[in-house]
């Protein structure tokens, strides 16, 4: 577990009070795994199966996240929470000219098994894991901080912080993540979602990682993307 900043005031007015016990996050990971396994079992290897609304908006998120990458030369990429490997299709379509050494990780065995089946023979690797087991040039994570289910917000923030630290540790040049903005909370599922303003996490990344942090917003979705460059 990594410490979280006591000094970061969250939009809701609360502040971090320190890290949770590892056992808390163990339960959290199991809950996430069960949730996404149910989704993919019900909807298959489709955007709905990974809890996305549609392929178009899923790919719009990839556009923002991949702004962290320099596609002018070969690169390695960790895709954290890769689901059934939708990013692989996007890379093939939009960045076919760049040699990408891709590794996808996910908590759900069912997701990874579909990803492997789908991309068998394409030289892509997928593993069941909480974090990437290797260091790559870049890491991206799309949507993994959004659905907190019944988890307390403080526990979820610890999960976010842990994940950011893991991505920092396993990325050479930078990483990118996205979050839902408070505007996304105005629907019936809002209590199950984690929504935040960018500032706390921008501040957190700058302090913890001594890096530059770019924020992309206003791309048509009620969310924002952080580009963390070293």
């Amino acid at each position: 577990m990594y410490p979280v900043l006591d000094s970061v005031t969250m939009p809701e007015g609360s502040s971090y009070k320190g890290a949770n016990k590892p056992a808390d996050l163990g339960d959290l990971y199991e809950t996430i795994e069960r949730y996404y396994t149910r989704r993919v079992t019900k909807h298959g290897a489709t955007p709905l199966g990974a809890d996305w609304r549609c392929r178009a908006t899923q790919e719009l998120r990839f556009v923002q996240l991949l702004k962290i990458c320099d596609f002018s030369r070969p690169l390695s990429l960790n895709d954290v929470g890769c689901g059934y490997g939708a990013l692989v299709a996007y890379l093939a379509e939009r960045h076919a000219g760049t040699d990408v050494d891709y590794l996808g990780t996910d908590l759900s065995r069912a997701m990874i098994s579909r990803a492997k089946r789908r991309w068998r023979g394409h030289g892509r690797r997928f593993v069941v894991s909480r974090a990437a087991p290797r260091v790559a040039d870049y890491s991206v994570a799309s949507g993994i901080f959004n659905v907190k289910l019944e988890q307390p917000v403080d526990t979820w923030r610890s999960f976010v912080a842990d994940t950011l630290h893991a991505m920092h540790k396993t990325s050479r040049r930078g990483f990118a993540v996205n979050f839902m903005s408070p505007a996304a909370a105005a629907n019936e599922r809002s209590t199950m979602l984690y929504c935040t303003a960018p500032e706390p996490w921008v501040h957190y990344c700058k302090q913890q990682f001594r890096c530059s942090v770019g924020v992309i917003a206003n791309y048509g979705l009620r969310e924002f993307t952080l580009l963390i460059r070293f």
Binding site: L48, R53, C54, R55, A56, T57, L60, G220, L221
Partner: protein, 154 residues
């Protein structure tokens, strides 16, 4: 009510049933509604979602606008094979291309409007119609209204 291809004498109900038609209209009107305009504008800008180079089937599938699985194949057939046979209010465009052009033009404009899909009696006008107006009394904003010729199912 079912969308109908009178040219062939086959009601749309042969493709998707009445409930499926209503379901698709509902999905379209949610997806192109007032709250979604920014998203659709961005998608158009980023991916050219609506373009003469893409079929509506492709565009709607990318947005996950589809009837239930049992009727999906027939829905695709309607979009790809039947709608192009329809006339439109633009004599240079068939029904399919008219819908694509209207969506493209709207979402590429600086101030795109929400879009409302509806139907009209084919006996009154056999072409796809596109106009700007208020689709219902409870929608105060201007919308691009796209209306598909329809024949009530017998």
């Amino acid at each position: 009510m079912s969308i109908n291809n009178e040219t062939q004498g086959e009601p749309m109900g042969m493709y998707i049933d009445d409930r499926g038609t209503l379901d698709v209209l509902s999905q379209l009107n949610r997806r192109f509604g007032h709250d979604e305009t920014d998203e659709m504008q961005t998608l158009q800008h980023q991916f050219e979602l609506f373009s003469p180079k893409r079929s509506l089937r492709h565009s709607f599938s990318a947005l996950n606008i589809e009837p239930q699985r049992s009727q999906r194949k027939e829905w695709h057939r309607f979009l790809e094979q039947e709608l192009p046979k329809y006339k439109s209010d633009n004599k240079h465009q068939n029904g399919h291309d008219r819908v694509v052009a209207a969506l493209k033009e709207n979402f590429e404009s600086k101030t795109p409007l929400p879009v409302f899909f509806t139907t009209h009696r084919k006996s009154e006008n056999e072409g796809v119609k596109v106009e700007v107006g208020h689709p219902t009394v409870f929608m105060p904003q201007n919308h691009v209204i796209i209306s598909i010729p329809t024949t009530p199912r017998k």
